[in-house]
Symmetry: C3
Subunit: 108 residues, 3 copies
């Protein structure tokens, strides 16, 4: 499988910086969802322990996935347990709706 999904759960207040860095790094498409979380990526001391996070999702090639994870780690890192997590998942196929065809490695 030559494509990957990079899925990151980051602090809501780090989102703007992360987005900017990803654009600077040439990442051509991201999607962002609001999520709530707890645990390793939340504040255990909060009375209401569900904390506001943002989830970023990027579809990319196998070659670029690790570099993208690195950019997110560098720009979202504060050094606290609520900093978040990044996962890289295998993607079997990737299609562009605009062209109604599979993505090519050149346009991802």
């Amino acid at each position: 499988m030559k494509y990957r999904k990079v899925s990151a759960i980051i602090r809501r207040d780090a989102l703007e910086k992360v987005e900017r860095r990803l654009q600077d790094a040439g990442v051509r498409g991201i999607s962002v969802t609001r999520v709530k979380g707890y645990g390793e990526y939340a504040d255990f001391y909060a009375r209401d322990w569900m904390v506001a996070y943002a989830r970023i999702e990027i579809f990319t090639t196998q070659e670029k996935a690790e570099g993208i994870a690195q950019v997110i780690m560098d720009s979202a890192h504060v050094g606290l347990s609520g900093d978040g997590i990044i996962a890289v998942l295998p993607v079997e196929r990737l299609y562009r709706i605009r062209t109604k065809s599979e993505a090519t490695e050149e346009n991802v």
Copy 2:
């Protein structure tokens, strides 16, 4: 792995049509999330470049995944760069909470 997740990021205004076509095609379960995005699936000319999208998620069998992607491509396609993207991801296991057991290919 015999199951797949079809994950599509489409224009918000195409959602209703896509849902209808998926139901017509016999897709028995979808979930929809609001996301924001930019890049290949957004309008670069927008001053506020984060555009409203919908993410559709469907769990299905390996055999049906490509057909479902095709239905989404056909019904969400406008021909613009913000049309969106569809990914097919491998799924190791799939359980139904109603039956407390693994899904069978007959009921997916």
Copy 3:
């Protein structure tokens, strides 16, 4: 691949119980998103057939994934067709932003 993503779509009203049981079971991080759904995990009789669900996402090890799915099944189960679905997906890499390094099996 030694890591997994457990992704569950459950009734919104089962969320609190499921979260509590997951914490009791030692699950150290979850994220929750609001989704809408229909089909096997919705009420077909509803006039407005898009029903409110919650999606839970947990990153974990291969060894723990099935146990976590079981906890969710047990605590979200009502016995109706709208009870929801749980998928286990392979994860190639998992990074912690706090440590800027790959997760170890000990801290997942």
